[in-house]
Symmetry: C2
Amino acid sequence: MENSSRCVRCDNCLHELCMYKVPLFSHLDRAELEEMACKMIPKYYEKGEIILHAGTTPNGITVISMGSAKAVTYTADGREQILYLFSQNDYFGDRFLFSDEKSTFTVEALQNTSTCTLLKADFQELVAKYPNIAIQVIGSLSSRVAHLESALQNMGSRSAEVRISSLILEYIDMYGSPTKEGTLITLPLSREGIANYLGIARETLSRKLSQLEGVGILKSEGNKSILIKNIEALKSLSHG
Amino acid sequence: MENSSRCVRCDNCLHELCMYKVPLFSHLDRAELEEMACKMIPKYYEKGEIILHAGTTPNGITVISMGSAKAVTYTADGREQILYLFSQNDYFGDRFLFSDEKSTFTVEALQNTSTCTLLKADFQELVAKYPNIAIQVIGSLSSRVAHLESALQNMGSRSAEVRISSLILEYIDMYGSPTKEGTLITLPLSREGIANYLGIARETLSRKLSQLEGVGILKSEGNKSILIKNIEALKSLSHG
DNA sequence: CGGACCATTGATAATTGTCAAAATTCGTGG
DNA sequence: CCACGAATTTTGACAATTATCAATGGTCCG
C-alpha cells in the first residue's frame, strides 16, 4: 500500500489497475500487480496516430487500456492487410519480449486510445522474480497462435461469402448483444477495415452484405452496426 | 554417461541425440539433453498415416526426427488448407504444452516418418527443473507467430501470381541449392500441396508456373523440383 | 515396362476486382 | 436540433482473374 502510493498511477485506469483485467497478469496477486503498475508507462494517441511503426523494435508489452487499434501489414500488391484488432485490455508486444526482432506490422489507433507499456527490461525482471509469468506468456502466445491458425484457415476459403459469414459469427460472440429483433453487432471496424481483414475488396463486401440483407439474414444499421436476424442461416453459409 | 546408457535411446537418432538439433533444446547441456532423451517416445509412420488427429489433445511435443509431415485443416468450403509443413527437426505440440485444448489441425506424414514425443508431464517437469526452457518455448512460439503472420500477409494478396512468387522465394532459402543454371528447389510438397498451402486451385498453380516458365523465370524439372533461373524477376513479381 | 498417380491444358462459367458515379452516413458548427 | 460538407458506403457496368470440369499428357516407382 505504501509502496503503491509512491507510484505514479496510470492515469488511464482511473481507480482501477488496468492490468487487473489483462489475462496475462491475472494470476498475480494484488501486491505484485501494484509493483508492476508502478512501472507501466501510460501514453495517449489520437485516432489515426501510429502506436507502433513497422520496422522498429517494440520496447515492451503494450496494453490498450482504452480505445482500440489495428495491426496492419501491407501485402505485396500494396493493400492493407489487418492482422489483429486490439480492443480494451488486449495487448501486443509479447512476441518481442525475448527477442530483438523488428515488428513487421504497424499498430494504428482506431479511436482516441490510451495505452500502458511495460518495458522489456522490467518485464524480464518480473519474470525472473515470478517465473510463473513465463507460463502465462506461453499461454498468451499459444492463444495468439490459435487465433492466427483459424484466421489462416478462414482465408483459405475461396468464397467471399463464406469468409464474411465466418467473421460475422465471430463478431456475434465478441461484439454482439441480443435484442428483440436479433443480435446487434457493434462493429469494431469500418466496412473498409473488415474488407482489409478478410482480404477482399470493399465493394465485394458491400455487395455480399446487401445480398444477405436481401434474403433477410441481416440488416445494416448505419455504418457502425449490423443486426443479425438469422444466425442459423449464417452458420450454414459459413459451412460452405 | 552411465545415466544415458541406462536409457533406451531413440532408435531414429542413430548415434546422435535428435533433440540436439532442435532449437527448443539447443541451450541445454549434454547431461540435460541425455536426461530428456531418456523420456522421448519414438514412433514410426508410413507415408499418409495420421500422426495427430484434429479434435484430439496432443499428448506432448513431437519432433520429426526423419521424414516430413503437413498440418492441415479443412476450410468451410471443404478444401484442405495446409497450415504448416514440418521437416526434419521441426516439431509441433508446443502450443498445447500448458493447455488442454484440442488440436484444430491434423498432422499427416508426407513420407515415411519417424517422430520422438516428449510427454506433457515430462516437459513440465523439465521446465520446473530448468526454467530457462520456458524462455525457449516462448521463443519457439514467437517464431511460430511470426511465421503465421507472414503467411496471413501473403494470403492477403488477391493475385495468385504474387502469392506463388513469394512462396517460391521462401522455398529458395529453405530448400534451394545453387547450380550452374540457377537455384534448384527440391519441392517439399506436390503441386496439389502447394496449391492447398496457398489457397488456390491446383490448376491455377499449374498455369501460372507454365507462364513463369514461358518467360524464362523458371523451369519445372519433373514433379519434384523446380529450377529458378531469374530470382530478381521473381522478386519484382512478388512485390506486386 | 506398365499402371497408378500427378500434372497440364483447354473451354467455359462464376466470382471478384476495378473504376466511376450516386447515395448514405456522420460529425461538426451554427 | 438542424443543416452542411466530408467521409464512407453502395451500386452499376465492365474487365480481369480464377475455379471448375473434362480430357490429355507426363512422371514415378515397383
